[in-house]
């Protein structure tokens, strides 16, 4: 699964290899991005381990999408370096683009193509062998339960179907690292299960999945490694159990980490429910 057909890179050793022997899948140093006065990402240093299911969690506006966009080459950082599988994203795009798959949030697909046409288009753009492309397209459509809608235009797809066809397009060239921005947002349980199944099978083969979410229960059940992002900075990172620590769940640990105070000003609403 991890053998890259375009570059002939030998397969990455299985996920069972001790972590120390594998270089990190993603290495980020001193990453900054400001929009006007607002610093969306302020100095992130992070190593994401290879062969893991990595969750990037944080409240809305924490900088998850900005970070993922800069890591995948869709947004230019103000400063800092990003390396994916040991190659600099901004200085060596040729090598990096063939090795990563991306499912961004808030960007359109080529929606006037049918699902199958979109996959064929992406596969040809990535110079896959036509016979191999055909067979991969068939399998992805089948596994993601899109075969029935393969000739429908993507513009007429539901949110879940869009996420699934986006995932298929991101997996088509068998990348080493997969970046998914909110892959389960607005997705029904059936589609979510299909996506989950594909991702679990993919990481089992030793590949790396990095995905962002603010649904803690989902991250806790899926990820073996998490990084918590708030206000453009990393608050904690490490194996899920470590980040959870003493707190009962990742959810509680997260609320503590990002400094959510519950409802300290609740007293000011003392009229609520009082005498009418």
């Amino acid at each position: 699964m991890t053998e890259n057909t375009e570059t002939g890179i030998p397969p990455i050793p299985g996920a069972s290899t001790p972590e120390g022997e594998r270089p990190p899948a993603v290495r980020v140093r001193g990453l900054w991005k400001t929009f006007g006065e607002h610093a969306a990402v302020s100095g992130i240093d992070l190593d994401l381990p290879a062969g893991r299911f990595v969750g990037l969690v944080g409240p809305n506006g924490a900088g998850k999408t900005t970070t993922l966009s800069m890591v995948t080459g869709l947004l230019r950082p103000d400063s800092g370096t990003v390396e994916v599988v040991g190659r600099d994203v901004w200085r060596d795009p040729v090598d990096v683009k063939a090795r990563i798959g991306v499912l961004p949030e808030g960007l359109r697909l080529f929606e006037r193509l049918s699902g199958r046409e979109l996959l064929t288009y992406m596969g040809r753009m990535r110079a896959l062998d036509p016979v191999e492309l055909e067979s991969r397209t068939e399998q992805l459509l089948d596994v993601l339960d899109l075969s029935g809608a393969q000739h429908k235009l993507v513009v007429d797809y539901s949110t879940g179907m869009r996420k699934k066809i986006g995932l298929a397009a991101a997996l088509l060239h068998n990348p080493e690292v997969l970046f998914l921005d909110e892959p389960f947002e607005g997705v029904d349980p059936v589609s979510a299960q299909a996506i989950r199944g594909v991702l679990e099978r993919y990481t089992d083969s030793g590949a790396t999945v990095v995905f962002s979410s603010h649904v803690m229960e989902l991250v806790e059940s899926l990820c073996d490694w998490v990084a918590v992002l708030a206000a453009g900075r990393i608050r904690a990172h490490g194996p899920t159990a470590e980040v959870r620590g003493e707190a009962g769940s990742l959810h509680h640990a997260f609320l503590e980490l990002v400094g959510a105070r519950g409802n300290p000003d609740g007293a000011r609403l003392d009229w609520l429910g009082g005498a009418r």
């Binding site: 869709l74 040729v94 992406m122 393969q150």
Partner: protein, 551 residues
């Protein structure tokens, strides 16, 4: 809002008895009152809106009254009745198509009525009656009265007019409502919104047609004579035939008048029948959203792709070309761009040649319109450009990407442009200038494609997907217009060498050298521009993505 003001529903029989339908009169009264409520609510909106609403109503009444007076003033004019006939045909056309642009009122939406216990026949009468209320019908009534009065000089004609005017008015309302019912599903679907975007095209070409028609009319020193041949044809078609009946009655042809009236009345009956059938279908058939899509509409699709797409080059070039061609057909904004450019490339030289005698050089407009297609290539990808960006790792990829897009324009545009040059040469009967015309248009097209490629890389901007007339995202219009105007100037300068050569060679058989010269110079410009644009594109992918994602 308006539903809260609905008058109480007519009394309904107790549930244990057979449910009786509300009568036609009751339903009609409800609908007319609903329409009046809607009109009243129109005046109750925010100050600006209600002022606009009242203003447009007053304007409609005023213009209608003026039209009536103007038509009455035409009594005695030899062509007055013809003008009346043409006017009625235009009004009917307006009733047929205007709802597509301005939307229809809420008493029409079958989606809101499907849950009510209404039979199609009372519903049809009620919708027809509510359609007769409003400033639009008033405006139409005034103009129709004028169109009929033009021909009235006796009792027989007056009596005919009394029948004809209401008949045409009802015809117009029935026409618009029947069409709206037939298109109800369409108007609320994605396909309908696509069509709404394309409606801009109708306006653009309609204006050209009007331009041509007006310039033809102007040739006649302002007389109304050109309406005669039009009226001769339109007068046979309902509903204009009803107005023709007035004139026939005036001329003493009773049989002709009755037949002409009967034609409109018969057509109205057919229209009502059709409307009733579509209404029944709409109220009883399940909505598309509750139907399971056919599992696989498929393999035929693929075979067709293999047929035509097989002729395209392999690799990235063919892949990009196929996608651009599919978008030219399926994406409303892209379709509008292509249709406008290709259509205007034919129309402009044609209009100019026909009107002013013209010359082969008017074909340069064709090159200009085709050149426009190359501008802002990545903007037409919308934020889907990230998919392209993911596959551009080096300037070479960007070069192939842009070259493929340029090739699509040449594939569709070059044969058309050559045909336009040949056509203008034939129309102006100036075959001697043919080689010069060919050489210059080829050069100009090359220069404009080159400039388009460079501006695509340096000055990308977003295209909003909704709205027929919006082709630039807010805040980027300066960028868009600047790049197009500046680009056209630069394109003209870049074409200068071949232009000078044309001046030097003027006259003589050596003129034919301009064709290969133009082709070679145009191609060279394109290649240079692609090289430059590719380097910039590959280096500025995130910046381009940000610029085209604002729509």
């Amino acid at each position: 809002m308006s539903t809260a003001e609905l008058p109480p529903a007519p009394a309904v029989a107790p549930p244990d008895e057979r449910i009786t339908d509300p009568s036609v009169a009751a339903t009609t009264a409800v609908f007319v009152r609903l329409k009046l409520s809607l009109l009243r609510n129109g005046m109750r909106q925010s100050n600006g809106k209600s002022a606009a609403f009242v203003g447009s109503a007053v304007l409609a009444a005023l213009v209608g009254a003026l039209g009536l007076l103007g038509l009455v003033a035409l009594r005695g004019n030899e062509y007055g009745p013809d003008t009346g006939v043409v006017l009625v045909a235009v009004i009917a056309l307006g009733w047929a198509f205007l709802p597509l642009f301005v939307g229809v009122d809420e008493t029409l939406d079958p989606g809101r009525l499907a849950m009510l216990p209404l039979r199609p026949a009372p519903l049809l009468v009620a919708q027809l009656a509510s359609g007769l209320v409003g400033s639009g019908p008033l405006f139409t009534l005034l103009l129709l009265t004028g169109a009929a009065l033009v021909a009235v000089h006796g009792v027989a004609a007056a009596l005919t007019a009394v029948v004809a005017v209401p008949l045409v008015l009802v015809f117009c309302v029935a026409l618009t409502r029947a069409l709206a019912t037939a298109n109800a599903r369409l108007l609320t679907s994605r396909r309908g919104r696509d069509l709404a975007v394309l409606s801009g095209l109708l306006v653009a070409f309609g204006l050209q047609g009007l331009n041509l028609a007006l310039s033809r009319m102007a040739n006649e020193d302002g007389s109304l004579a050109p309406t005669r041949p039009l009226a001769d044809v339109l007068g046979w078609l309902p509903p204009a035939s009803a107005v023709r009946a007035v004139r026939l009655a005036d001329e003493g042809s009773a049989v002709g008048a009755v037949l002409a009236l009967a034609a409109t009345a018969g057509c109205l009956a057919l229209l009502l029948l059709w409307w009733r059938r579509t209404l029944t279908a709409l109220l009883t058939a399940p909505d598309a959203s509750s139907l399971q899509p056919p599992p696989d509409a498929g393999p035929a699709h693929d075979r067709r792709e293999n047929g035509l797409a097989g002729l395209l080059p392999t690799g990235r070039t063919g892949t990009v070309m196929l996608r651009v061609l599919r978008y030219a057909w399926r994406d409303p904004k892209a379709k509008m761009g292509w249709a406008t450019s290709l259509g205007m490339a034919v129309l402009l030289p044609l209009v100019l040649t026909v009107r002013d005698g013209g010359s082969v050089y008017t074909a340069c407009w064709a090159a200009g319109m085709l050149g426009l297609l190359m501008y802002n290539q990545f903007g037409s990808d919308y934020s889907g450009f990230w998919l392209v960006a993911q596959t551009i790792a080096a300037p070479r990829d960007a070069f192939v990407e842009l070259r493929a897009r340029m090739l699509v324009i040449c594939l569709l545009g070059l044969p058309l442009m050559v045909a336009v040059v040949l056509g203008t040469a034939a129309l102006s009967n100036d075959w001697e200038s043919l080689p010069t015309g060919l050489g210059l248009t080829l050069t100009l097209l090359g220069a404009l494609l080159a400039v388009g490629a460079v501006t695509s890389a340096w000055l990308p901007y977003s295209i909003p997907q909704e709205g027929a007339m919006k082709n630039v995202a807010p805040g980027q219009s300066g960028l868009a217009w600047g790049s197009i105007l500046g680009g056209t100037l630069v394109g003209a300068v870049l074409s200068a060498p071949v232009g000078l050569l044309a001046l030097l060679l003027h006259g003589g058989p050596t003129n034919w050298a301009l064709v290969p010269a133009g082709l070679a110079w145009g191609t060279a410009l394109c290649w240079g521009a692609l090289w430059l644009a590719a380097r910039r594109t590959a280096a500025a992918l995130p910046e381009i993505l940000a610029a085209v994602s604002k729509g």
